[in-house]
Amino acid sequence: MTRLWEAVWKGQRGTPAWAKLLVLALPALAFLLVLFYIPLGRVFVEALRKSGEGDAAPALATLRDPYFWQLLRFTTVQALYSAVGSLIIGFPLGYILANRTFPGKQLVQATTLVPFVFPSVAVALGFLVFFGHNGWLNRVLFALFGLRVQILYSLWGIVLAHSFYNAPVVARTVHAAWSRLDPAYEEAARSLGAPLCTRFRTVTLPLIVPGIVTGTLLAFIFSFFSFSIVLALGGSRFATVEVAIYTQVRVLLDYATGSALAMWQTVSSLLAAFLYLGVERRFITGLPLSRPRAVPPLFRWSPLNCALWLYLALLLVFYTGPMLAVVIDSFQGPDGRWSLAAYQQVLFGGYDRRLTDTPGQALRNSVTFAAGSLAFALPLGTLFAYALAHMGRAARGWGARWLVLALETFALAPLMVSSVAFGFAALRAYRTGIMASLEITPQLAIVLAHGVLALPFIVRSLRPAFEQLDRRYVEAARSLGASRSEAFFDVELPLALAAVLVGAALGFSLSVTEMSATIMLARPGLNTLPISLYQHLAARNFSAASAMAVLMVLFTAAALVGMDRLARRWLGPR
């Protein structure tokens, strides 16, 4: 018994002390348990409890409701189409990034991060302004051919927006898989006589399938749980489960149906998370390349390069078009002339009954919430990622590996669980039951919710950093007399600092751009930038919404660039 205890606490030669690592993971686990799992559990209880004699529990009643099935079908179908659309749009970009060089490639590569840091409500606005009935596309089409196309407020409008929003995700994973593919495999196939098509089909494609599958699966999941885009582009006819929860709770005040939907949504998102992690786990290959992949310039004549050119030009139009439209729109007055009226209105308009908060207030709220949530999520996430990395590295055998996977899933779930369902759960939990006595203020509620949502991002960006860190550095520090924790603070943390800052930046931009959980918790006086933007948009005040979007993007970009500068200064030239 003592021996077992020793092994678990102190660790044997070459194995870490599991119990110590668990202690490090504990604060994050407790944080998530209290603020994420228990609230969601309460939603489950509410959804499964019968409201009166003879009634069915809301969760079961929903299953008998054709409305629910229709909702689910629409959600799934649009997510499927969107995933395929993202693959079609994103795959060639992944190919180009991994196999060609061209001026501005770094910029394009950086913009593939956009879906992770760009407020989706701004994307929706861009689509409205660009593809709308009186949007730019239709104005051009009308001027040229005298016709208009109806894209928005339909299944295809939503699918198109989701495809463009999530295509960079596919491009990223495909790019990553392709650049991890050792060119020696393709060369081996060539030297054995395989022609181009066969080579692609039998060697390249099977080896980059991991990237394709994970990217497409992510696009599906993001589209399935997408909220703001559907809310803004779906009109009154099209709603996904996410939007339905919001409508039930915040508009119709039907908490029973809301909790039932939230429960099913949570179940499906957990399933998706588990599926994704399982798929991702299976595909990890970290073999070093025998030689770097050749990246010939894109601007060299060949039929394929011409096609890629054309494709990039189209991407440029369809990505910058909506953005440009928003910027130009923000400078247009009601009479169509250039004007700063929109900015005047959002910046100095003062109190507006429809909008509840001034932009200045929204900006202040956003900054406060972001800083507050990072104060929780950064230390907790760092410790957790560290523990997970060391457990994962030492995990031998089934049990240990499953424990690590379970812990990881536990911490990453907020990333995958429907944010609207979570927002609803938090709303209910803080007002009723035991947690009501804690008197969590609405401000703190939003901060904590953002902290919960930021934690997985921090864990995900930090875990690989700790995992890939050469353990000999720590061993060297230990052999020179540093204690375990000194080695952590002197060696491991500084070496992982870049990843810590990336995690912080991701957490920050998540908090600033998050809308679905926030809209469930927000109340007058606590609106954030995206909510404020949405309110302008919902009031069909597009110029003001555009001005708001420009300000928000400028702010987010300034904050991220500032963090980057800070990081560079701290890390020095490397």
Partner: protein, 346 residues
């Protein structure tokens, strides 16, 4: 004389500011194994990739079996390639890997393919391994599978790129004999790239020693060892001191050629002995290494540092003489000389 099977003629290749190959010529007769030997970065892998067709030379030409092949794509060359890290397709079994090149051979039936895979596995001493996955094999086994895969489509030329560099010493020695045996049995024409001089000596019919994108010497292992043409080639083999002739033996006529006044005598540790006859060299015994089969002495005198080899039985006697002045001898008639100014840059 027979036409060379592979003829690389005056090939140059530049990558940005780096001249990877500078007018390199190499030939390989049918059934011959040529080793390309040189330190990392000398351009030997670039040369191999040009022969395989993965790079196109800026200048010069490649001929295969008498046919111009400079611009022929790799898949049309019929050149088998064994990669440094083997590059076995991780998503295919061993059998599928070996059979891959047979897909592109016309007129093969399924049964033929299976039989050919099995016979190749027997050739590399791995019978019955067809259904294994590459990651279930040891490095040495993967290496043999890589050879079998390259041989499957019956290539006209086999290229091996540092095929043994990822293996440990004893396995390396075993496998290089294995490769040599297969090459002889099948009468293969092969180019073998390595940075290990011992490997090159043991395996090759001829050796091309490369440095900074040029071939310094191209000849049989004996020629390269016994008659090095440059100081670089001389110092590439074994523990060798290069001592200016005027310091080492000012009075002696060297047997091999008439060296100029600045020539360097190539004093290999194994041909310098602590007993005569020969020209004496006197210096302080700085270090000695017990090598098992012999004792290696390191002397320092006005000529610089020289190594000599003493019988293993004398190890204790030499240990006691550390720091003393000792005399060693070399035979000028067995000692090659090289021109000065061709020294290896460290």
């Amino acid at each position: 004389m027979e036409q060379p099977y592979l003829a690389v003629e005056s090939v140059s290749k530049r990558f940005g500011s780096v001249q990877a190959l500078d007018r390199v010529s190499l030939s390989c007769r049918r059934g011959e194994l040529v080793a390309v030997l040189g330190p990392s970065g000398c351009g030997k892998t670039t040369l191999l990739r040009i022969v395989a067709g993965f790079e196109i030379p800026d200048l010069g030409s490649v001929r295969l079996g008498g046919i111009p092949a400079t611009h022929l794509p790799p898949e049309k060359r019929g050149v088998g390639l064994v990669f440094q890290n083997y590059a076995l397709f991780p998503h295919m079994t061993v059998g599928e890997n070996i059979a891959y090149g047979l897909r592109f051979v016309k007129g093969l039936k399924r049964g033929d393919i299976a039989a050919r895979v099995e016979s190749l596995l027997e050739l590399v001493d791995l019978p019955g391994y067809a259904s294994r996955r590459p990651d279930q094999l040891s490095a040495g086994q993967q290496q043999r599978v890589a050879i079998a895969r390259a041989l499957a489509p019956e290539p006209r030329l086999l290229l091996l790129d540092e095929p043994l560099s990822a293996l440990d010493v004893s396995l390396r020695e075993q496998l290089r004999l294995h490769i040599r045996r297969i090459q002889r049995e099948l009468n293969l024409t092969a180019v073998y790239v390595t940075h290990d001089q011992e490997e090159a000596m043991s395996v090759a019919d001829r050796i091309a020693v490369m440095r900074d994108g040029r071939i310094e010497q191209f000849g049989t292992p004996e020629e390269v060892y016994e008659q090095p043409r440059t100081a670089f080639v001389a110092s590439f083999f074994g523990r060798t001191a290069l001592v200016p002739v005027r310091l080492a033996a000012p009075d002696t006529e060297f047997m091999t050629g008439r060296p100029g006044p600045d020539a360097l005598a190539v004093l290999r540790a194994e041909s310098v002995r602590p007993f005569g006859p020969g020209v004496p060299l006197r210096g302080r015994l700085e270090e000695l290494e017990f090598l098992g089969h012999a004792v290696r002495l390191q002397l320092r005198g006005e000529f610089g540092t020289v190594w000599a080899t003493a019988p293993r039985t004398e190890v204790d006697a030499w240990r006691r003489r550390r720091g003393e002045m000792v005399t060693v001898y070399f035979r000028p008639e067995e000692t090659p000389t090289v021109p000065a100014g061709s020294h290896r840059e460290e």
